[in-house]
């Protein structure tokens, strides 16, 4: 093999290949508007990587936490914008963030619809636990909540999913506004 073929690539690219999809999913949940998720992730990632990237490895929890903090900051300024823009975010389903080949699997689609119905605070805990693979301790620090709170939210979320998936498969979901508590 020629030395030219030795593919030395910036370490951030291999890091981002491992964590990018999960981070983007979380950013989509945290952002008010769908088109803002990438901006949010870019801002958080660049800030953290400039601080710690020289070490060669960055704890993903730091980037999740940065995403959440920046989303809160941005939300405060967005509140001054038109309500119509927020409506767009509410209408964007989470299923667009997952592999489209799932469309042929009825149960997985029902599962995603059920996840969509979860309250936001339970959905973010579920996302960080299942797809970001953070520990409860890391999730608690990311969300600035207690360990017990995040563990409870996770358990409530799973319980709701267990109840709702059969309903979704039968095509009779309850009104999400009445169940999301």
């Amino acid at each position: 093999m020629n030395i030219d073929n030795m593919n030395n690539e910036p370490i951030w690219k291999s890091w981002f290949a491992r964590h990018g999809a999960k981070l983007l999913l979380f950013a989509r949940q945290q952002s008010r508007r769908p088109d803002e998720a990438e901006d949010l992730l870019q801002e958080a990632f660049v800030r953290i990587w400039r601080l710690y990237g020289h070490t060669g490895e960055v704890a993903p929890g730091l980037v999740y936490r940065a995403i959440r903090r920046i989303a809160i900051d941005w939300a405060r300024s967005i509140d001054r914008r038109k309500v119509r823009e927020d409506k767009v975010a509410l209408d964007s389903p989470l299923s667009f963030s997952f592999d489209r080949t799932l469309e042929q699997d009825e149960r997985k689609q029902a599962l995603l619809r059920a996840v969509e119905r979860l309250p936001a605070e339970q959905k973010e805990v579920l996302t960080l636990k299942i797809w970001a693979e953070l520990t409860f301790d890391e999730i608690a620090r990311t969300l600035d909540e207690s360990l017990n709170t995040v563990a409870s939210r996770y358990r409530y979320a799973l319980q709701k999913l267990k109840d709702w998936v059969p309903e979704e498969m039968q095509g009779k979901p309850e009104d999400s506004s009445s169940t999301a508590s």
């Binding site: 030395n8 370490i11 981002f16 990018g20 870019q42 799973l158 319980q159």
Partner: protein, 201 residues
């Protein structure tokens, strides 16, 4: 067995979509030089390397190890020089002449309860108006605040003020005032003045 294990396994089977190439390119542009600070060769590509590549990489490693050795020797040399300077300075300072020690002792005896000679370490405090005396030391011996020059209202509490004239100090403005505490034996220099020189009385 956890009742939710099956559900968790199903959820984990759902894979979030990876970021687009366009977004990755955007990130690269946004990172700029920070993205290139840490580099590494991916492990799977190292495994595929031919013997020629291995030799070349070994040569590179040899070069970097030599660099490390030079850097280590340089650091050791610097440390040795620092240690020598520190040793010399610490061993020379206490060995002043006996005359100097005697005069210092005499000064301390005259000064009464002053804990140490203010300029003993000659530490410079940029906020202090006095050479070799920190603001804190000044406060301790003068019983006055260090947060600035004395409020004229506070001056009224002192019983006696003696102006001993202007004298020059090394590296600072000339000082003008010496205060005498009512209790008697200690004289303290507390401030430098921008007043015009009056000459010694």
């Amino acid at each position: 067995m956890n009742e939710f294990e099956k559900l968790e396994a199903e959820l984990k089977e759902l894979r979030p979509l990876p970021p687009s190439d366009a977004f990755t390119a955007r990130l690269q542009e946004a990172l700029g030089d920070a993205g290139n600070v840490a580099m590494r060769c991916l492990p799977d590509q190292e495994d595929d390397a031919s013997p020629d590549d291995f030799i070349k990489s070994t040569e590179k490693k040899g070069f970097s190890s030599r660099l490390l050795i030079f850097a280590g020797l340089g650091s050791l040399g610097l440390a040795a020089v620092w240690a020598a300077i520190f040793y010399l300075s610490s061993s020379l300072v206490p060995n002043g002449s006996s005359e100097q020690n005697d005069s210092a002792n005499l000064l301390i005896a005259e000064s009464g309860p002053v804990p140490e000679a203010p300029g003993a370490g000659l530490r410079e405090d940029p906020d202090s108006p006095l050479h070799g005396i920190s603001l804190k030391e000044l406060q301790d011996v003068s019983v006055m605040p260090v947060s600035g020059w004395i409020d004229p209202q506070i001056n009224e509490r002192f019983l006696r003020r003696v102006d001993e004239g202007v004298f020059d100090r090394p590296g600072g403005l000339p000082a003008t005032l010496l205060w005498t505490r009512p209790s008697g034996v200690i004289r303290h220099l507390i401030c430098a003045s921008s007043r015009p020189h009056h000459g010694k009385k």
